[in-house]
Amino acid sequence: MPKDSGIGASSKRREDVRFLTGNGNYTDDININGQTYAHFIRSDVAHGTINSINTAAAEAMDGVIKVFTAADFAAAGGIPCGWQITDRDGNAMQEPKHPILAEGKVRHVGDPIAVVVAETLEAARDAAEAVEIDIDELPAVIDMKAALDDGATKVHDDLTSNLCFDWGFVEENREAVDAAFAEAAHVTSLDLVNNRLVANPMEPRVAIGDYNRSDDEYTLYTTSQNPHVIRLLMGAFVLSIPEHKLRVVAPDVGGGFGSKIYHYAEEAFCTFAAKVLNRPVKWTSTRAEAFVSDAHGRDHVTKIELALDADNKFTAIRTETYANMGAYLSTFAPAIPTWLHGTLMAGNYTTPLIYVNVKAVFTNTVPVDAYRGAGRPEATFQLERVIDKAARELGVDPAELRRQNFIKPDQFPYATPVAVEYDTGDYDATLDKVLELGDYNGFAARAAESAANGKLRGIGLANYIEACGIAPSNLVGQLGARAGLYESAKVRVNATGSISVFTGSHSHGQGHETTFAQVVADMIGLPEDQIDIVHGDTSKVPMGMGTYGSRSLAVGGSAMVRATEKIINKAKKIAAHLMEAAEDDIELKDGQFSVAGTDKSVAWGDVTLAAYVPHNYPLEDIEPGLEETAFYDPANFTYPSGSYLCEVEVDPDTGTVDVVAFTAADDFGNVINPMIVEGQVQGGLAQGIGQALRESAVYDDNGQLLSGSFMDYAMPRADDLPNLVVDHSSCTPCTHNPLGVKGCGEAGAIGSPPAVVNAVLDALNRAGHKVDHIDMPVSPARVWAAMNS
């Protein structure tokens, strides 16, 4: 029987009302009196030396206030990187300066060179054409392997090479892994590319800087997933503004998918220029700008090898990956191909020995950082592709080969050879569920039907394990994180009993305003509408780390639970006083405090009123008021897992791939709002299917982005996708957070690409085409070429 409110209920999203009526408050909807408009002049070459910038003609134009160049930022710091990787030799990664505006050199198409600030946006754009910039173009470094050749052009002259770091994990396992390969009964090897993607949230980035002379305070309105992180990075490292003088507001944000985690130059620019000009400065990205200034995702080139013994048990995995960093290090860039990728290479399996090598490379391309899944899709894709290839080589059922190597339910907690300990999971359960829901055993009949229609049908399976809620802080600090990864919550109970929750998590589509309220409502027994969720404003919310990595409920929700527990404990003391009973005898149910074994009770509102009107109150024991804050630092990651099954039809004449069925069986632990969880999975699947079949950020040899608009970057549309069957009935609750939740935001994007590609290859091989692999996106042209090679 589904619940109608609280934890487990599919409560309607309260935020929808404002979004559906045009009353959302997105950053571009904000206009401040006296506002000016910034237009960024960006490099149209991938690599070059700036000889001169002449702004005089532009500055003389009507409506132009000032043209800024790097010279204006001589006192500012560079955009910092938030994670340091130590290489195989124990050395720190190479970390180039990332200036707000290009200093002497441009390093990717889109690198900002100058900014025109004017009374109107059109005046700024008109004047931009009058800024004379003389650049000597240099050879562009685009291909990662070529970038590491001796004598290759360097992206950064002050670094020793284009190698950011060469990372080995676990370095101590290297020889043992090699030995295992030497002894293997069978080795399957696969070269593959994890295609470069653009997150493309539908809302382009926006920044508005504002400065108040009277109190020397700055406000930045920005499209961010983590306003406190922006405040810390920009305030402490770039502009030297103390945090108490800097407010960062991220209001309604139209999607992020990782690309709005990072601190960007435009944010620092608008904040800085607002003080220089003593006027608000607004910048709104166009979509064309977004393609060359938002951090991209993925872009790995990998060789993976899987060793098996004579019984088809996995004995070792060895990988070598080239990971593109782009031209500068974005905020979390070095962590993605390392700790968020290497630690997941065990997948759902008992492989005892694993060695991962990652070479991170600078190129003349847009910086690359986390995009939905962030490292985990790259790990999952390699693993689930090489297992599928092994099954074909060995002539065994791919589902059974996986099952045979699963970590079994009685093996948890399970320590992998790549430094993480899975707390719970039941991989057989999700595999059984997906095979049942997707009617794996009935495939032959469907394939025959497709064949009768002239189509090749294939079925593909993939399992995934995810690590969410990256933590704990003391561990990630050892791994190179330059930040903590806790979350905060402040619960303020008002005198009349309504509640405001201030969370450091940030909702940009996830529905926190609804789900977080469900949790608190459930704990106290109040109607959900008595609880308001406040987020996205550093002047209201305690220091928080924001939303990414499927961490909000597992970490931010846990902080909120802890704060609410403190509230309840204090309220019980007040209730005990009011009812003249022992505190231990007080029970809270449905918003009523009662004394166990008696008919005495007092309502929630009476207790909260007493807290603020403490006439009859245990002032000797506790303070008045009812407001509590908690910071929650998790003991471990959470480990959602699942099994995905994809069926495709391939048109043998054109190579077109149609996803005709997709089934997802996930284990997210406990679920607060099933409707929202289902929506998160559907959205993730769409992005994963998009990566597999359509999306790709492609550079030419000169570093021009060929897929620089929606005219060439293929976003999935409604008619590209099938009905997605989503199930989350498998449930092994997380053991170390109070809600038993694991996180669901990235799963779909992690598990689906290999399922799709495996299905396409299954279709081709069943039809007699001996094709081992097709790189993503598996476009019609690539499928046709593979069939005809």
């Binding site: 054409e129 359509r694 060439d712 293929a714 476009s779 019609p780 046709w784």
Partner: protein, 261 residues
């Protein structure tokens, strides 16, 4: 974009006069021109809207020919060109519903995007492009990518399509833009078959004459079995190689014949 004067004439004559100015440009539905102006790749100083001119919109049928006003939207053609079903279907597949409510046949033809749908219908039907000064046969109208026989300031007032015995347009979508990666229009007339190909060639829309000859003799998909298209001169980009496009031309032509027959 650069600023301009917007004028909205009510007659073709007024529009033609307005277009005589320096850097004046005609505006149909603007579905291509406006994005181009946003990129500052086009910067007219005067924009002359053609959509308010009486008599330039609408579909009429007359003695085996279908005449479509130059400012007729794709949506109107999809809705009202029932006398030429393949043409109506083509119009109903351009862009998306909101684009079809604005984009016009005249605008599409004057732009002659190498991946646009309409040029293949016009060439494949042997249609006549009617302008404010003359009539231009389809075979003389298209002159390579983004180039036509139109003079500066010349306005497409209508397009006259002879209605074929059978026809079909087969479009293979470029996955991002939804333009034709390759599109083939096949039309069978009493005096022969015409096959026009869009999206594939670096020279823009073209007729596949070998296929026309084969299909004129035998209007069946099988008649194409021995033919192939050379990849020379075909477009190669991130969505498909020249070889792939050449291959698609044959596949789509066969499908068009099967659908039409």
């Amino acid at each position: 974009m650069h600023n301009f004067d917007f004028v909205s004439p009510s007659t073709v004559e007024e529009a033609a006069a307005a277009l005589q100015g320096d850097e004046a440009q005609a505006l149909g539905g603007g579905q291509t021109l406006i994005p181009t102006m946003k990129q500052r790749l086009a910067a007219p100083t005067t924009l002359v809207s053609l959509t308010g001119i009486a008599g330039m919109s609408g579909v009429s049928s007359d003695g085996g020919a279908l005449t479509i006003g130059g400012a007729t939207t794709h949506a109107t053609v999809a809705d009202q060109a029932g006398a030429y079903p393949a043409l109506a279907a083509l119009a109903g597949g351009i862009g998306d519903p909101a684009v079809r409510n604005r984009g016009t046949i005249g605008g599409s033809l004057a732009n002659n995007d190498p991946s646009a749908c309409y040029p293949s219908a016009v060439l494949g039907s042997g249609a006549t492009v009617v302008t404010n000064t003359r009539e231009i046969a389809a075979d003389d109208f298209f002159d390579g990518m983004f180039t036509t026989a139109l003079d500066e300031g010349e306005i497409i007032t209508a397009v006259r399509f002879p209605v074929p015995q059978a026809a079909s347009y087969q479009k293979f979508l470029q996955p991002a833009s939804r333009f034709a990666l390759t599109g083939v229009f096949v039309a069978q007339y009493a005096d022969g078959v015409r096959v026009a190909v869009t999206g594939a060639s670096e020279g823009g829309v073209f007729r596949w004459s070998e296929a026309e000859a084969a299909l004129s003799a035998d209007f069946s998909a099988g008649a194409l079995d021995g033919l192939s298209v050379s990849a020379d001169g075909m477009i190669g980009d991130l969505h498909g190689t020249p070889e792939y496009r050449a291959h698609l031309i044959k596949v789509l032509t066969k499908r068009a014949v099967s659908a039409a027959a």
